[in-house]
């Protein structure tokens, strides 16, 4: 572990012009240290502030100069104190000199590690680059940079500079800024250094990779253009999602004062047969079964090994094709990068030639890859050129996995051109939309950087988690803090951008209207009128429906139909029947509907309610067949007809007979206990009686 430990020195500008951004610098640095605490515990960190009133560093004691540079923490193994140190940075009073700070930091790193730890010594400078740097005692600034860079290279140091240039103060001196940028940009030309300019606090939080991951190749070998031309390449992951950490399950069973308790929970899986015996089947008596229709085909892993698909390791070119033949949305996974084998001139030039030709001709390459020997599958993917515009970075390729035929579902969707005119924007609406899309701009422009560029956007969930972790370490009862306001800019639109484009947004709002679909809204339009109960039968129905309603309302949203109203009973019924969240809805719908029909028939004056009742009864019948609830319908039919005959409402039964509305038969619903014959005769039989 110690072999991989990193020595990092943070050089933080705390001069007056930095004050407004220091809270975010504190967040960035504490995140950096916190993650080291979890993922690289043996890393060592030192912290230097510059632009301070005071001066406190070894160089000033040894050789003088280097004023306003304070070492607030010497290089030491990370601990929680370091987190607290960077969480509360002193505000400086003078403008700082970043070159002085770099020299102090370099001195610390060299003194601490000497020639050891090569490539693992890093310096991180955060400044706004607004303050002038002093002229050196002898020679030019260029000479000074040259000397420093020489030391960097000699000792294997790396430099990362983050230059924050958002919301420039009115007195910012363009000349000084340009001069500082020029000086800083000398570094990458001479040694391993990187200069990053950021403009927003959000991208400041994303400007440093907070977790060091040593890159590992997933493939080293030949990119086979043909059997005659093989280019030596190394393949790495270019993107790989940093997952939310997997927390361990906590056990509180250990005695309270057991200092050595691990509190871990072991999860045990036992395989038992379904026959109820408690015997555990050991691993060598288990075999994997593969579902094939209703059959389960047992196949042991040895059997599989004998027959499975076994591709040879290798990366082969299938051919080149027009970039337009590959859809961007087909990219399946995280992305790989192909680089030439380091130090291999031929391969570097070959890749450079291919990448540049591909870019020129707008072509891509299709590859078939088996990364490792013994892999059970191959991937097909697309190589796209990544042409470098820097002299010191070689050209390379990005590689994206493409889907196979089996992975694509070609659903058909209606053409927008064929939509009815009411769903097509008119000229004014289209213009409003064009303006909206144009003005709500996050892209780069002459005077600002791209906003929310993935390369500089921190993960708000992880930031929040680590922040919360530190709070809870101090106070176990700490609540989850609200999302930091800098992070909110990732999850919510930037209020500034929206205010600036208020008129465009308002115009867009004016041209378009959304409203809830009235078909669904009917339910809420409906007014509640509880009919006083008439007969005993009704009481029973009401009782049941009331209780089912109570059961069901818990999980309801306001839009849902909760009862059948008088205005649109059929629609309400259908809506209720189609509620899929609980089977109770179907019961309730049938009960309520039956109730309503009963009321209607009972209240009918000279049959004025009959047509409506018929309509509802038909809907009820259909619903009961669809949901396979024949018994409820048949019982109700019998009850209703019995009631009609007793109460001199035979005319309703006649109407049913003439419409052919009868019991649900076995043919229509398997659960029915009524035969086709019986169903047909149900009403016919009664006719002669009344005639």
């Amino acid at each position: 572990m110690a072999r991989n430990r990193e020595g990092l020195v943070l050089l933080l500008d705390v001069g007056p012009s930095m004050h407004h951004i220091l809270p975010d610098v504190e967040k960035l640095c504490s995140m950096l240290v916190q993650k080291k605490l979890i993922y690289s515990k043996s890393d060592e960190v030192g912290v230097i502030l510059f632009g301070t009133e005071e001066t406190e560093n070894e160089l000033t004691k040894e050789v003088g100069g280097y004023e306003h540079v304070v070492v607030i923490q010497n290089i030491k193994v990370v601990d929680r104190d370091a987190v607290q140190t960077v969480k509360k940075l002193a505000r400086g009073t003078v403008s700082g000199d970043f070159l002085d700070a770099i020299v102090v930091g370099m001195d610390m790193l060299i003194k601490k590690y000497g020639a050891t730890n090569k490539g693992k010594k890093r310096m991180c400078l955060i400044t706004d680059g607004l303050s002038p740097i002093k002229d050196p005692y002898e020679g030019s600034k260029e000479d000074q940079v040259h000397t420093i860079a020489g030391q960097f290279t000699k000792h294997g140091l790396k430099l990362e500079c983050i230059v924050f240039r958002g919301n420039l103060p009115p007195d910012a001196d363009e000349k000084i800024m340009a001069e500082n940028d020029r000086i800083l940009n000398l570094f990458p030309r001479e040694t391993r250094a990187k200069i990053i300019h950021v403009e927003s606090p959000t991208s400041l939080l994303g400007a440093i990779r907070t977790r060091n991951i040593t890159p590992v190749t997933i493939f080293r070998g030949d990119l086979e253009i043909t059997s005659e031309l093989k280019i030596k390449v190394w393949v790495y992951k270019k993107t790989s999602e940093e997952k939310f950490p997997t927390l361990k399950k906590y056990s509180d069973k250990a005695p309270q004062f057991d200092k050595f308790a691990k509190h871990e929970v072991k999860v045990d899986y036992e395989y038992k047969s379904y026959d109820g015996s408690s015997k555990v089947v050991p691993p060598d008596q288990r075999i994997k079964g593969y579902q094939y229709g209703p059959h389960v085909v047992p196949i042991s892993s040895d059997e599989w090994d004998a027959v499975k698909f076994k591709p040879e390791k290798g990366v082969k070119l299938l051919g080149f094709t027009d970039a337009s033949n590959i859809m961007r949305y087909h990219y399946m996974k995280d992305v790989n990068i192909f680089i030439a084998e380091p130090g291999n001139m031929g391969a570097t030039v070959a890749i450079s030639a291919l990448a540049r030709a591909m870019k020129e001709m707008d072509k891509v390459a299709i590859l078939r890859c088996a990364w490792r020997q013994g892999q059970r599958n191959v991937v097909i993917g697309v190589l796209t050129p990544n042409v470098s515009d820097s002299d010191i970075i070689p050209d390379s390729f990005y590689f994206n996995v493409l889907p196979f035929n089996e992975d694509i579902r070609e659903f058909q969707f209606p053409s927008f051109g064929n939509l009815p005119t009411s769903l097509q924007p008119n000229e004014d609406q289209q213009k409003a939309a064009d303006n909206f899309v144009m003005m709500l701009d996050l892209g780069p422009s002459d005077d600002h950087q791209e906003i929310l560029s993935p390369d500089f956007t921190p993960n708000p969930v992880l930031e929040r988690f680590y922040n919360c972790l530190d709070l809870k370490a101090q106070n176990p009862d700490a609540k989850v803090p609200p999302l930091d306001k800098t992070l909110k800019k990732i999850t919510e639109p930037d209020p500034e951008l929206f205010v600036r484009n208020k008129s465009v947004i308002n115009a867009f709002r004016r041209h378009f209207e959304v409203k809830p679909n009235p078909k669904l809204k009917k339910s809420s339009r409906r007014f509640v009128r509880e009919k006083p109960s008439g007969s005993d039968d009704e009481k029973e129905y009401n009782g049941i429906s009331a209780s089912t309603a109570a059961d069901a309302t818990d999980s309801k949203t306001a839009v849902k139909v909760e009862k059948i109203g008088n205005l649109t009973p059929v629609q309400d019924f259908e809506a209720m029947m189609s509620c899929r969240d609980s089977p109770e809805w179907v019961n309730k719908a049938i009960k309520d509907m039956s109730n309503k029909i009963y009321d209607l028939v009972e209240d009918s004056l000279n049959g004025d309610n009959y047509p409506k009742a018929m309509e509802m009864l038909m809907a009820l019948r259909k619903g009961c067949i669809r949901e396979q609830e024949p018994k409820q319908f048949n019982d109700f039919m019998r009850l209703l007809c019995g009631f009609c005959q007793k109460n001199d409402l035979q005319s309703f039964c006649d109407m049913l007979a003439s419409e052919g509305l009868t019991l649900i038969s076995k043919t229509e619903a398997a659960d029915s206990d009524v035969s086709d014959e019986e169903a047909r005769c149900f009403l016919v039989k009664k006719e002669p009686k009344t005639e």
């Binding site: 929970v265 089996e406 064929n418 921190p458 992880l462 370490a473 999850t491 669809r626």
Partner: protein, 630 residues
């Protein structure tokens, strides 16, 4: 039957479970489908589709091969769905209602509408040859008879679909025919009457929640005329006919492909509220158009009885060994402290957005880099079902984004995995054969800064500038690319060879066939094409321009390296054999003394016997024991 799954898959991790939602579309309902296939003599007419297809193909044959390929996929990926195969216009009849001209195909003790079995598929694949003999083709609707085979077929299909509640099942009738005027032979009132009753029959079925999908098969020179009968039957208005027919594609060559595509049921994954600005929000449905297909599900069986096993999970406190309930707290070690979180707190941390999908702004398309990708995209299409105006706004934005070459940046507030996303408008792409790319938008999941690795910088060398290709070398590369050009490449041309192999083996084993089928790997490069003189020449020129005369020497130097590495390996193996002889392995295993050896010592045995040396010490010991027993 609810099969237990492998714990590796189910309980892998809370995180992964939440993620499974993206990758595996869990069907909430099963599907019941009746394939209703016209078997009239007209379906058996052969058409020579074009010069290059010398084989004559009938509509019947095309239909059957489509259904077969769809069943083969279904048996693995959606094996709980049920199907029935029903022919109409047949000579023989076989159906519960005993109606004329309708034949329900089935095998063994399978129910008519049931999950497909290996045997069912196999016999169906052989049915075509013996169709004439066993089932027979015969027009069912002829003048002078009141018989109506189409009506009968619908009636039988509906009766088959009586099974199961509409609440939990998706019921479909898929009707394949090339007769656009089924009552063409009938005249006068009889025709009107039959048309009416058939349409009523269809409507009744639809009212019961059964969807009827028509697969019209056009003849080479005569397009299927929907307006003659079927438009009314399946309920398409005049505007819809053109849309419907254009979606089908009239070309005979594409018919098989188009049919297969249309047989797939469109599944909505989720409905999302897309917040645009200042409280304006529309509704969109999400679809998973690309997802990796994995070999079907597996279960653990008892190797003796072949009966499925259930998996019981128990939680054991590592400190006390006590059995416990599933713990509700999690912890993270942080500077020698255990920091505890409740499950609720963890989900609270992930709740960083109140909206489901919230627009943040727009960017030019060139801001979306090739490395801005993490996982398969999601397709969105507007719906007015709940919010009127959604489609209109979506279409307007879609057009603007296409015209201005911009994509939207939004935050997707998925509770388990919130993420920054790009939303890219996709214009509809149509060819003569039908829709190739549907209109809509694709959600592309963006990485964060910490997900992107600065690999290029590791290769940075400020001391010696990196070599670049010269113009001449680039020209040679371009010439080479022109020679190896895949014209009209489409990823749909390539099947996953591992998956094909898996399915083929499974099918053979399920049918208890002795011979395992050969599967062809179509993902291999075209060796023949690559060895054409023009290609070889272009390769040579490029090679010479880049490597000069160094290429051969270089690669052989590489071989030397290889052999050196293998020499080393060989040497260590030789050493292991020597060392291995110093121990009495059998005795040590017998007396349980293997545990006293170090891992290095154990590896002597494994290396000497050419066994894998991976795993923990216990694994090594059990591997040695296993080997000794043999």
């Amino acid at each position: 039957m609810d099969m237990e799954l492998d714990p590796d898959e189910v309980f892998r991790d809370d995180e992964d479970d939440a993620e499974a939602e993206y990758f595996r579309e869990r069907a909430s309902t099963k599907e019941l489908a009746v394939y209703l296939i016209d078997a009239s003599p007209k379906m058996f007419l052969t058409h020579s589709p074009s010069e290059k297809h010398m084989k004559d193909e009938s509509h019947f044959h095309i239909t059957m091969s489509c259904i077969l390929s769809s069943l083969k996929t279904q048996i693995i990926s959606r094996s709980y769905d049920e199907v029935a195969i029903c022919f109409f216009n047949t000579r023989e009849k076989k159906n519960l209602q005993d109606l004329n001209g309708v034949f329900v195909f089935n095998v063994g003790d399978r129910e008519s509408l049931d999950r497909p079995t290996a045997k069912f598929i196999k016999e169906l694949s052989q049915l075509e040859e013996k169709f004439a003999k066993e089932i027979g083709s015969q027009y069912g609707i002829v003048a002078g008879s009141r018989e109506n085979s189409l009506y009968n077929a619908l009636w039988v299909a509906q009766a088959l679909l009586r099974k199961g509640s509409a609440r939990t099942a998706d019921k479909r009738i898929l009707l394949f025919t090339n007769e656009d005027d089924p009552f063409g032979n009938i005249k006068g009132a009889t025709k009107t009457d039959m048309t009416r009753t058939t349409q009523q029959r269809a409507k009744d079925a639809q009212d019961l929640g059964i969807s009827i999908e028509l697969f019209p098969l056009s003849e080479p020179h005569k397009e299927f005329d929907l307006s003659r009968f079927y438009a009314d039957m399946i309920g398409i208005d005049d505007d819809g006919i053109a849309e419907f027919m254009s979606a089908i594609g009239a070309k005979f060559e594409d018919m098989e492909y188009e049919l297969k595509r249309r047989m797939i049921k469109k599944r909505i994954v989720k409905t999302l509220t897309f917040t645009i600005a200042n409280g304006l929000a529309i509704e969109v449905n999400t679809y998973a158009l690309v997802r990796p297909t994995v070999p079907g599900s597996t279960v653990w069986l008892d190797s003796v009885t072949n009966q499925p096993l259930k998996i019981e999970r128990s939680f054991i406190c590592a400190d006390t060994g006590a059995l416990m309930e599933e713990p509700t707290k999690r912890f993270q070690t942080y500077q020698n402290m255990n920091v505890k979180f409740s499950v609720e707190e963890l989900s609270e941390i992930k709740r960083v957005s109140t909206a489901q999908l919230r627009l943040l702004g727009f960017k030019p398309l060139n801001c979306l880099k090739d490395y801005h990708n993490l996982r398969p995209s999601t397709f969105i299409f507007p719906t007015d079902e709940e919010v009127l105006g959604s489609t209109l706004i979506f279409v307007a934005l879609h057009r603007s984004m296409l015209r201005l070459n911009r994509f939207a940046v939004a935050f997707y507030g998925n509770p388990s995995h919130p993420q920054l996303v790009a939303i890219v408008a996709q214009d509809e792409v149509k060819v003569a054969g039908g829709q190739v790319e549907p209109p809509g938008m694709h959600i592309i999941y963006l990485p964060y800064a910490d997900d992107i690795r600065p690999i290029e910088e590791f290769q940075m060398s400020p001391e010696n500038p990196v070599p670049r290709a010269s113009d001449e070398q680039i020209d040679k590369a371009a010439a080479l690319m022109k020679r190896i050009d895949l014209k009209g490449f489409s990823i749909t041309q390539l099947s996953n060879p591992a998956l094909q192999r898996h399915y083929a083996v499974l099918q053979a084993l399920a049918l208890e066939e002795d011979e395992l089928p050969e599967t062809k790997d179509k993902t291999l490069p075209d060796e023949e094409g690559m060895s054409r003189p023009t290609v070889v020449n272009a390769i040579d020129q490029f090679k010479h321009s880049v490597y000069g005369d160094q290429y051969e020497a270089r690669s052989s130097a590489g071989d030397d390296n290889m052999s050196e590495a293998s020499k080393k390996r060989k040497a260590s193996a030789g050493n292991a054999v020597k060392e291995c002889e110093n121990y009495n392995w059998a005795e040590m295993a017998e007396s349980g003394k293997l545990t006293t050896l170090t891992v290095v010592e154990l590896k002597y045995y494994l290396t000497a016997h050419n066994l894998p040396v991976s795993g923990k010490k216990e694994d090594l010991i059990s591997r040695i024991k296993m080997h000794l027993r043999k």
